[in-house]
């Protein structure tokens, strides 16, 4: 059984984003880029399912040429094969989902595991869109994934707690933070990953129109909070809280 894992190259989560002075976006020049953390969790989950009937893991990234670094990371973690789809233009979740739907047609995976959210644009859309386009079930925000006989059962992190749903295969899963702790690639595995296959494609190869539907008119910094005061002890804190009308 084959699993497809889409991975996105994003600004590393430890880097503080800086808005460009001309208001066109966030500065990505000369800053550390990494695999979207939720996608690391997705790759890790696919690897863990290898003991449970998964035979091949294919990773896909859509973006610029440099996304191949991200794919190599996934290969070093334990994925088997990679597909890089390059595009000059930034591809929105709808376009990404359409390209992924074409790849699914070709590859026929039983499961596609995505991150729940890319931490750059914070869209939280692609997995649900892909499921809609394919007419598949969607186990979103997963904190537990169990493969059964022709089904996948997913425990989902929802607002009030946890919900468990079951989906016939093939299906979509999107990962939440508590699903697993991704491994670090070992040096030998990083070396081995260099010779794993990576196919190069373009968005045009799939006949998908990726013209953006959303135009970014401007990007600004949010209003800054002023740092306030420090109080010396609990008594002073209580006085301040009381002055604000709290716990009176």
């Amino acid at each position: 059984m084959k699993v497809l894992v889409p991975v996105k190259r994003v600004l590393d989560y430890n880097v503080k984003p800086r808005v460009k002075a001309d208001g066109t976006g966030v500065d990505l020049a000369n800053v550390k880029m990494s695999m979207n953390p939720f996608d690391e969790i997705a790759v890790e989950e696919a690897i863990r399912l290898k003991d449970k009937g998964v035979t091949e893991i294919v990773v896909v990234s859509i973006g610029e040429q440099k996304a191949q670094e991200t794919l190599r990371t996934a290969l070093a973690m334990g994925a088997d094969r990679a597909i890089l789809v390059t595009s000059e233009e930034k591809v929105e979740p709808l376009g990404v989902a359409k390209i992924l739907a074409k790849i699914v047609e070709e590859e026929q995976p039983a499961l596609v595991i995505l991150g729940k959210q890319a931490i750059d644009d914070d869209n939280n859309q692609t997995g649900q869109m892909l499921a809609g386009l394919l007419g598949w079930g969607q186990g979103t925000f997963a904190s537990k994934v169990e493969l059964g006989d022709g089904t996948v059962t997913v425990t989902r992190e929802v607002d009030g707690g946890l919900e468990t749903d079951s989906f016939p295969l093939p299906a979509i899963v999107t990962t939440d933070l508590r699903l697993n702790e991704p491994r670090y690639a070992s040096l030998p595995n990083i070396m081995k990953a260099k010779s794993k296959p990576m196919a190069q494609k373009t968005a045009a190869d799939y006949g998908v129109d990726v013209t953006p539907r959303l135009k970014t008119l401007k990007v600004v910094e949010p209003g800054k909070r002023q740092a306030g005061i420090k109080v010396a002890d609990v008594d002073e804190l209580v006085t301040k809280l009381h002055a604000m009308g709290i716990a009176r």
């Binding site: 984003p17 709808l94 649900q128 929802v158 919900e163 749903d165 970014t216 420090k230």
Partner: protein
């Protein structure tokens, strides 16, 4: 500003009452134009009646069927798509249900969703946070129909009384068989819900264990009538359940007062609480980033401070 669009708003409910998140979505939708609601579920008569009373609501579409009992996206999306035949915009609150359903609807309508809007600038232009709220983008949609999710803290809540919507039943689209509800562990919580609490006390990794988290945070929250939140680190370590997580990838809150106890203030945490009116931070490290956003900071050991504070309030 009120536009000319006919909007369909997803009503988030628990089977008996309309959830607060819906009310912010109604306010956002009313900026676009006429507001219609969709109540989907099983045995949701009461919810529909309550929804019809929300101020400014025109029509309430009610789909009452077992297929909608758990708001499974696979079943709900075709229903929404059907109704979107005569609406211009689908508006859902940024709840886990809204986030699950809306993108599926968007894909079926061939529309790019606008996630988590902070404001309506015109009927095609919106602002939204990106990079954990470290940047705010203004985006313009060229799609004929709009699919939007709404950040609850960014809009006032519509009044729950004063409306006189017309309730209308809509036919079920049936069960697609693409998903099945197995069960849920929904915490019974006597405390205020995080997204609508006026005061929140949140605990971080520093609490050290689930026992200490409850022993220290709960009494303080009870004294204040506050909701209880947590950092990711505290949730990951099992000190608090997942639905307590505040942050970029957890809940977005903006209470009158947010008290952060033993939380460092990583950008992913700040993303979820920095719009709180007053932020109080208790941390033993005077250089902790949380103090850069805190209105009132107290440097010291939480194991001493918190019990003393609870006692003196």
């Amino acid at each position: 500003m009120t536009g000319n669009l006919k909007t369909l708003v997803w009503v988030e409910h628990d089977g008996t009452a309309v959830k607060d998140a819906t009310l912010a979505a109604v306010t956002a939708a009313s900026r676009l134009g006429e507001v219609h609601l969709l109540v989907a579920g099983q045995g949701v008569d009461g919810v529909a009646q309550a929804a019809a009373k929300i101020a400014g609501v025109g029509k309430v579409h009610v789909a009452d069927d077992a297929a909608y009992a758990h708001a499974l996206a696979e079943n709900v999306a075709p229903l929404v798509v059907e109704l979107m035949g005569h609406h211009d915009a689908f508006v859902a609150p940024s709840t886990t249900t809204g986030k699950n359903v809306a993108p599926r609807v968007a894909a079926l309508l061939d529309v790019m969703q606008i996630s988590d809007i902070l404001s309506v600038e015109s009927d095609d232009t919106f602002t939204r946070p990106i990079y954990a709220g470290n940047a705010i983008a203004t985006v313009q949609s060229s799609d004929a129909k709009k699919v939007i999710t709404v950040r609850g803290t960014a809009f006032d809540k519509a009044a729950t009384e004063g409306g006189s919507g017309v309730v209308e039943a809509v036919a079920s689209q049936g069960d697609t068989g693409k998903s099945r509800f197995v069960g849920a562990e929904i915490a019974e919580n006597a405390r205020p819900e995080l997204t609508s609490a006026k005061i929140i006390v949140s605990g971080g990794r520093a609490l050290g264990s689930g026992e200490q988290f409850h022993a220290l945070i709960d009494p303080l929250a009870d004294k204040l009538g506050a909701g209880v939140g947590a950092s990711r680190a505290a949730v990951d370590a099992g000190y608090a359940p997942n639905d307590y997580q505040v942050g970029q990838t957890g809940k977005i809150v903006a209470p009158e007062v947010y008290i952060a106890v033993g939380i460092s203030g990583a950008i992913q945490h700040l993303a979820g609480m920095k719009d709180s009116k007053v932020i109080v931070a208790i941390n033993k490290d005077e250089d902790a980033p949380i103090f850069q956003v805190a209105d009132i900071g107290l440097v010291g050991d939480l194991f001493k401070i918190v019990p003393e504070l609870t006692g003196k309030l």
